[in-house]
């Protein structure tokens, strides 16, 4: 012990008068790395800025009242809008949400609150696998299960494909949000004589609601922009959607169909639709952030 004490001297460090200096090696490296980090940040943000700027410049010219009310023009015609596609996207995403949210949230509750270790581990594993499956495979699956059995391309088939896409995200965010609620709060609830079920329903779930809502909204934003699973489930149409058992127009498929055709009017609409799609996703993401601010733990 005495030997360490003897070695315990401070004169082995650089002598430093504690005043700020710009010449030492340490300060120079510090400054250099800070500048480098800034540049790299700029490079990373560049694509995002460019995409948004590009979409605004190309799509902005058609951003008018007609865009939101007009019908989708046939090839070679002038004017028109993308109203049916906006409604179509909302319909498909609505169907997807209606299917995936109840199942996903319940599965998440089961995982976090009622399952035992081993089963939960396997379910979590397969949920992760599911979220890694490429979206086109979801489309293929929906095609096989819904389109072939009902003999028609339909909004429902697309919603089903997107629902499977959203499901793992909803399950995982619910599971994770519930686990954020501290065990002490559950104990407190049990301690005043609440049953397990009451504790989950009245204490844990409300406390996690903000976080769950955030996850669900992000899942919706993700699904809204998907194209691949819709191409061979919802297909496309130029007309107003009148039901869920028929092909309908959607924003993403409209972009896919119109962006590379030789008609200028349709190309412009494709850009305008891209802009709306980006705005829609931006809006959902912002509302997700607002919901997140309400979360308690």
């Amino acid at each position: 012990m005495t030997s360490t004490k003897q070695n315990w001297r401070s004169d082995e460090f650089d002598d430093d008068d504690m005043e700020r200096s710009y010449s030492t090696q340490r300060t120079a490296i510090d400054l250099g790395l800070t500048i480098l980090a800034f540049i790299l940040l700029g490079v990373a943000l560049l694509p995002l800025g460019l995409v948004i700027a590009f979409v605004i410049i190309r799509g902005g010219s058609r951003l008018n009242f007609d865009l939101f009310t007009g019908q989708i023009p046939a090839a070679g015609l002038e004017g028109g809008g993308i109203a049916p596609a906006i409604i179509g996207t909302l319909m498909v995403v609505g169907i997807a949400a209606a299917i995936s949210i109840p199942f996903g949230v319940l599965a998440g509750i089961y995982l976090s609150e009622f399952s035992s270790g081993k089963i939960a581990r396997w379910i979590r594993f397969f949920t992760n696998v599911l979220s890694g499956v490429p979206s086109i495979i979801m489309g293929l699956f929906a095609y096989g299960v819904v389109v072939l059995t009902t003999n028609t391309f339909s909004a429902f088939a697309g919603g089903f494909a997107l629902a499977i896409l959203m499901l793992p995200i909803v399950v995982r965010t619910t599971d994770e949000s519930l686990q954020l609620v501290p065990p002490q709060v559950r104990w407190a609830s049990t301690g005043v004589g609440a049953s397990n079920f009451q504790t989950v329903l009245k204490i844990v779930l409300p406390a996690a609601l903000g976080a769950i809502l955030t996850g669900v909204t992000l899942a919706i934003a993700r699904a809204a922009g998907e194209t691949a699973p819709l191409i061979f489930t919802v297909l496309f149409s130029q007309f107003w959607p009148t039901g869920i058992w028929q092909p309908i127009p959607t924003l993403s498929v409209l972009v896919y169909n119109f962006a590379a055709v030789p008609y200028e009017n349709q190309q412009e609409l494709a850009w305008a639709a891209s802009l709306i799609l980006v705005l829609l996703i931006l809006l959902t993401s912002i509302s997700a952030r607002i919901a997140a601010r309400k979360s308690i733990y």
Binding site: G117, P182, Q184, V185, R186, W187, A188, S189, T190, G191, V192, G193, A194, S195, Q198, K202, I203, P206, A207, I296, Y297
Partner: protein, 278 residues
């Protein structure tokens, strides 16, 4: 382990410390294991009615574990197994006929870290009443409970605010109010002041003095001054290495608080209360 045996024998003799008829809670050879690890063994003690009983001892000797046996909260911990008997009046809490949920209304609990529900102050009090099917006047219950917990004056104008917005000391008194709103017979407190400042601690200790008139209180504390200030009876626990090297807790001495602190019968107690270890 002959010394250990001897201590057990004596601990059992100390049954007589509390008049049998006055005991509200009684344990008989309670042994608790977490998975394969023994945490606590051979605890036999009586908790007297309308008195404050303190559980003291070094960290990890199983004070919290024993406390959780009294309202079956150990049920929530995976792998926790309780053997032996825990009587509340004449009922064995661990018999299969007992519904743990109804045990917990009668035997309330205040935790180490204040843990109000993430709900309004008002709802923090009424939640337990609602899940237990309380049919009386909620407003009255809220006011009375908060008044008993010496919190009413501070919060009466903001009952709709979230319980988490209160200070630590206020949160803990809210948790006490929440526990006594259920009109329990016993209130278990697990180091209720360990995360509070001295002023809040004093308020909570005053509160414990007042509550004693109506409730039986079991309090875990690592603060020996607190034990002498608030308790009538004191149980000293210690931990010992078992053969496989893991530590388990056991009851060393149980007596009136003055006796434990002024005239302890065991050497370990003597050392602990005089601050020589732990």
């Amino acid at each position: 382990m002959p010394t250990h045996r001897k201590q057990q024998e004596e601990a059992r003799d100390q049954h007589s410390v509390v008049d049998e008829s006055e005991a509200v809670l009684r344990t008989e050879n309670v042994k608790v294991t977490y998975g394969d690890t023994l945490a606590l063994r051979d605890v036999s003690m009586d908790v007297p009615k309308n008195q404050v009983t303190a559980l003291i001892g070094p960290s990890g000797c199983g004070k919290s574990t024993l406390l959780r046996c009294f309202n079956r909260l150990n049920d929530l911990i995976d792998g926790c197994k309780v053997e032996g008997k825990v009587f509340y009046r004449d009922k064995n809490l661990y018999s299969s006929k007992i519904d743990p949920v109804s045990v917990r209304r009668r035997i309330g609990m205040v935790f180490q870290k204040p843990n109000p529900f993430p709900k309004s102050i008002y709802d923090n009090i009424t939640y337990g009443a609602k899940v237990n099917g309380f049919k009386g006047d909620m407003d009255e219950l809220v006011e009375q409970s908060l008044q008993r917990a010496a919190l009413w004056g501070e919060v009466k104008d903001k009952l709709k605010e979230n319980g988490l917005s209160l200070s630590g000391g206020q949160q803990q008194r809210l948790c006490i109010a929440r526990a006594i709103a259920l009109k329990p017979e016993v209130v278990l407190m697990d180091e209720p002041c360990s995360s509070l400042d001295p002023v809040s601690t004093e308020r909570v200790e005053d509160l414990i003095h007042e509550l004693k008139e109506d409730y039986t209180i079991v309090i875990v504390t690592h603060n020996m001054h607190q034990a002498t200030r608030v308790s009538d009876f004191t149980a000293f626990f210690n931990a010992e290495e078992s053969d496989d090297g893991s530590r388990f807790g056991y009851l060393v001495e149980y007596d009136r608080t003055e006796r434990v602190f002024e005239d302890p019968q065991e050497e370990a107690t003597q050392k602990y209360v005089s601050g020589k270890f732990g």
